[in-house]
Amino acid sequence: MNEKSAIRIRPPLSIVLWIGGIGLLLAYPFLIKQQKYPIHVAITICFNISLATSMWLTWSLGFVSFAQAGFMGIGAYTSALFLIRLGLPLWVGVWAGALVGGVLALVVSLPLMRTRAVYFFMASWAVGEVIKRIFAYYRGFLGGWEGLFNIKPPRLGPIDFANHTAYYYLALISMILIVLAVYRMNKTRTGWIFWSLHEAETLASHLGIHALKYKVAAFTIACSFASLTGALYAHYHQYINPRSFDIWVSEFALVHIIVGGLSTVAGPVLGASFLTIIDELLRPTGFYRVISFGVILILSVLFLPDGLESIPERIRSRIGRFLEDKETRKNVIGASIKGLPKTGKGKE
């Protein structure tokens, strides 16, 4: 865990940057003249950031959950069915999806948490996988492998959310809320409790921190976020099938947080943004796209293990070292000019 934020800037300047950044995000669709494709990419980035952030939440307690994909599916199917079978729009569906996801996560997590951290990722994946297969199994009610169609986005007064620009704001707001929630959790006492379990669970338990309770809570919250995102996903694409929620969704979320960085919430945000863009750029290349992902991941683990979020810090220390070396070089040169014997190259 990092007590310092990834980017250290003095308050007045940072406020300006924040306002500017948010302004940019809000103005984005109009800056690019509402072209469909860039907006689609932006919406996808929002979804990916939401998923990656929810996975990072469980990571802050020390375990990797591969259940995001399955719970995204739960949210998506719940919301879709609420519309198709009950005629209730996204405004109801999204909360229903999050609720169903949360309850299911709670139920599943109690036995799940008994497994060790190493096994957990497989066990959590298994949960997601079974969920997916259940979607596929019930053809009549759940659409089977063919999926569900006609998941119409809602209207709000004059605004029709079938318009991608309008949906962009929906995705943006939900992403901001999720990131904000996780950020706040992490920054305050809750975050310290989570990280203490991550760092030294035995010690934390012996200080009165009920590990199981917090793990279940974090898992439930993370899965609810994934479900919420799934609901939005369903009404955006207007079509879902079980394969949309395959394990690669969870796997990609993991890649996002590893490449982005594991210490702060900036990690999943940066990682998901960066890699979604790369993914889109490489889309025409077919399978090479996936290979590139693998290569990027390996390079990241071997050469930038602290992730993209550590780049500002690295630059700062490089500059610092550069300036120091300059001083030393000046001294050495000055000394040799004065006729003193050379003390060797640079510092000791």
Binding site: V64, T115, R116, M122, A126, I134, F287, V295
Partner: protein
Amino acid sequence: MTLQLIAQMTITAITLGLIYGLIAIGLTLIFGVMRIIQYAHGEIYMLGAYFLYYWFDVLHLPYWAGLLMSAVVIFFFGVGLQLLLFRPLHGKQMLYSLAVSLALIFIISSTGLITFGAVVRGISSFVTGGVKIVGAELTYERMIIAMISLTLILGLWFLLQRTKIGIALRAVAEDPETAALMGINNRRIHYIAMGLGSALAAVAGCLMGTLMFIVPTMGFVATVKAFMIVIMGGLGSVVGALVGGFIIGIIDSFLTTLASSELAYIMGFVTIFAILVFKPSGIFGQDWE
């Protein structure tokens, strides 16, 4: 439920169980000795199968030499992976080995799809004919495959129990620091464990490919099964991997025949879940940090 059906399912269960056991033992060996998560173990299995395919079906070289060569080549491939990718991560969190092996899955399976094409193939049978047991078909091929698997498993047991290298492997798995103090070259043992584990997966791939079919995406299902078995049997336990292999083999064989492969898949998970609820470290697993 005729006797013939039961016999058929049992034969399949035993064969599958043995092959699954091979894959799982390889995985548990890698984890036990090095404490890394080799998520791409199934991809190794796939590579082994395709090697034999090209050796035997394409180049028409002898089957048995191919089986051996597949094991040897993949052994060194595993060593290479250990050298380049996993060793730099030694001592770091398991998350990193998971990440790197995930990257390997991306790279290997995509390369496989590009190189081999998304076509289902099969490694031709090396012998035809068979016998009937209570009406059920038992091909010679199946018998020989089962024998090979059994021999390898017993050979491995012998290696681990009676040979110097085997004891060294177990020592490093148990307590790397003490092992090093006793003069064991941990690094060399890591290479051997990785190579051996990978070779076992490769052979399993060859056998399964001969028995059934090969496709570049076969790696993932194998990985899932291998992890399921290893978790069920207890990470690091060879006996556990074998027992787990049989359990999954039985579930797969019986349920796929009697119900559907979907149900077999789901029941496999449910079983593991159930076992983990009562024994969080697996049937034969131990508590480790």
